[in-house]
């Protein structure tokens, strides 16, 4: 991101209430121009509500939404230069694929001939030209998805909103579409706001992610930020797999916090602002940051016993029982087996991690 980059969507203190129920509690966020931005969270976290507020299908109870500096929260959907790819695609069943894609252009006042020509070009972009005369029902789910995308992109919106558009596709197609979406975003240079509950999808595609839960934003950052430096327990738990352990902080010295976990085990991690000596907090260690050995290797080594090895294709997941302490999950990549050791169940060994691999979390 450069300094000259504009803010595409600016949400300021947006609140959404349905009667007594508050779906969104004062959300503020700025989405930059040309950004692939993802709203990520479990169902009911308010991500779709926020998207629908930007599209104009939901009123904003309090707060404001700006689109490139213009206040839009009181405009009807047809007056907002943003388009939506709906979860169920909502392709008009009585129109051909070409007419579907041309619809937005025609409604904007482009002549029919011109609209159809541009729609044809859009269909070329998503490689569906040969289907332009068909009805939506004659297309497969993946093709319908691409038509929905072409239809929403055809009027050249300033921002494209995508409401879990990949959730109806099977895994292989979903992976392919993830890359296609990302390429399309780069090619068109249009800001994409993508809603999903799939953390892997969010990590794969996004420039930045807003993790949401219970109507609040939990963390905003790049995929690496969110994965490597989760702010709180919810984010650490929701994104990827992790070992969440309860620890008490014994001492803090020069940026390092000494903590102990059950069974007399000790660990040093980076100190976090707001977590002082004596606090009982959670700590997160990603399973792939751990490795096993006969004898302690790093300064942070914990003694334990192998409980179980689980083969999951690309990795081997090992469950380690720390004596009198919690269980650890250790993941060893299959490609790494030359360097890293796998022990038989029942073997006593050490679990090692680099200093800083473990993170203290605010609750």
């Amino acid at each position: 991101m450069t300094d000259t980059q504009q803010i595409a969507i600016d949400v300021r203190d947006a609140v959404k209430r349905y009667g007594d129920f508050t779906a969104l509690k004062k959300i503020s966020l700025s989405i930059m121009d040309n950004e692939f931005f993802t709203l990520l969270g479990p169902s009911g976290c308010g991500k779709t509500t926020l998207l629908r507020m930007i599209a104009g299908f939901e009123d904003v109870t309090e707060g404001a939404i700006f689109l490139f500096g213009d206040e839009i929260e009181n405009l009807p959907p047809n007056k907002r230069p943003v388009n939506t790819v709906f979860q169920n695609y909502a392709l008009f069943p009585h129109m051909t694929i070409l007419e579907n894609v041309a619809f937005g252009l025609e409604m904007r006042g482009t002549s029919k001939a011109e609209a159809l020509k541009k729609a044809g070009e859009m269909l070329e972009l998503v490689q569906l030209s040969q289907f332009s005369a068909r009805k939506p029902s004659q297309l497969s789910g993946g093709q319908q998805q691409r038509v929905a995308l072409a239809r929403a992109l055809a009027p050249q919106p300033k921002v494209l909103l995508l409401d879990e558009p990949l959730s109806a596709l099977d895994l292989k197609l979903r992976k392919a579409m993830q890359l296609e979406l990302k390429h399309l975003q780069r090619e068109t240079g249009i800001t994409f706001i993508f809603v999903t509950h799939d953390q892997e999808e969010a990590l794969t595609m996004s420039d930045r992610i807003a993790v949401m839960s219970a109507g609040e934003m939990q963390q905003l950052g790049t995929p690496t930020d969110i994965y490597e430096r989760p702010h709180n327990m919810f984010v650490a738990d929701f994104i990827g797999e992790t070992n969440l352990l309860e620890v008490s902080v014994d001492g803090i010295e020069s940026g390092r916090a000494t903590c102990h976990l059950g069974g007399g085990h000790e660990l040093t991690c980076n100190a976090v602002e707001g977590i002082g000596v004596g606090s009982k907090v959670h700590m997160s260690i990603r399973p792939e940051r751990l490795y096993m050995s006969d004898s302690p290797v790093e300064t942070e080594s914990l003694k334990g016993r192998i409980k179980e090895n689980i083969f999951v294709g690309t990795d081997i997941t090992t469950i380690v029982d720390l004596q009198d302490g919690p269980n650890f999950v250790v993941r060893t990549s299959n490609s790494d087996r030359g360097n890293k050791r796998i022990f038989e169940p029942g073997t006593e060994m050490f679990v090692n991690m680099e200093l800083g691999a473990a993170r203290l979390l605010a609750d």
Binding site: F57, P76, A90, F92, G104, M107, S137, R151, P155
Partner: protein
């Protein structure tokens, strides 16, 4: 029992009961249709195939009366079905797309109530209503009454259809810069069309067939086909009545068949 399936076809007497039902339902219609081609003056003696009674309907002594009645009937049926369908379409749009409002269930009950009220009660009520507001009975009163009682018949297929249309289509239209009016005319209306046509045909048939209400609210001298037939029958049944009935029956069959195929053609899939 040979069949262990719980198929109703395997029940004892299934065939016999089915046959009985079909005979009870259709035997009178079949008899009337066959005897309308009878060459005889008599209702019951078969004397060979002939179209004489069809000719009689168009050229016989009663032909003038029947022609006027048929014109009235078709005029009333077309106008009443058109107006009723328009009102029903708007009502369905309001009821299905109006979100939740307080009297939604009550409104739905009110719209469909006339279907359950005995027709004679409706007829008497309509007559009293026209009398109390001082309306002179004639073609207009028949037309107004028909519009009113056709609305629920048109409403049912239209609202059933509309409930099957997700509102995301209209949202997508609005999202793609259509005004609310354009979203209605370009998206919702075409999707509703099978329901609307089906509702129109149903209303048309109901209006064309109606006797009781028409007989109450028609003025002296104004006849529709059913009342003209009834008037003619009072002076003794002649075979020309069977010919008219058969023609009326064919119109109904054609309409119902069209309605069936239209409602089956699902353009949302």
């Amino acid at each position: 029992m040979a069949s262990k399936q719980f198929n109703i076809k395997s029940y004892t007497g299934f065939k016999a009961i089915t046959l009985l039902c079909l005979v009870v339902l259709y035997a009178p219609l079949v008899v009337v249709t066959i005897y309308s081609f009878n060459a005889s003056q008599s209702l019951t003696n078969w004397e060979g195939v002939s179209l004489r009674w069809y000719a009689d309907v168009f050229t016989g002594p009663e032909s003038g009366k029947f022609k006027t009645a048929a014109k009235n009937s078709f005029f009333i049926a077309i106008v009443a079905a058109t107006v009723a369908t328009t009102i029903a379409t708007l009502a369905a749009t309001g009821m299905v797309r109006g979100g939740r409002f307080r009297f939604r269930t009550v409104s739905f009950g009110l719209i469909s109530l006339p279907l359950m009220v005995p027709e004679i009660v409706l007829a008497v009520a309509t007559l009293i209503f026209f009398n109390s507001i001082g309306f002179e009975r004639g073609l207009l009163t028949i037309l107004l009454a028909h519009i009113a009682f056709c609305i629920p018949f048109a409403y049912l297929p239209i609202s059933a259809r509309m409930q099957g249309i997700e509102d995301s289509y209209e949202q997508a239209a609005l999202d793609l810069y259509a005004t609310k009016r354009q979203a209605f005319t370009k998206i919702l209306l075409p999707l509703m069309m099978p329901g609307i046509i089906s509702g129109f045909l149903l209303a048309f048939i109901v209006s064309l067939d109606d006797f009781i209400i028409t007989n109450f609210v028609k003025g002296a001298g104004v006849e529709t086909l059913p009342t003209a037939i009834f008037g003619s029958v009072k002076q003794g049944i002649k075979p020309n009545i069977m010919a008219i009935s058969t023609m009326l029956l064919s119109v109904s069959i054609v309409m119902v068949t069209i309605s069936y195929f239209v409602s089956k053609s699902d353009n949302t899939k």
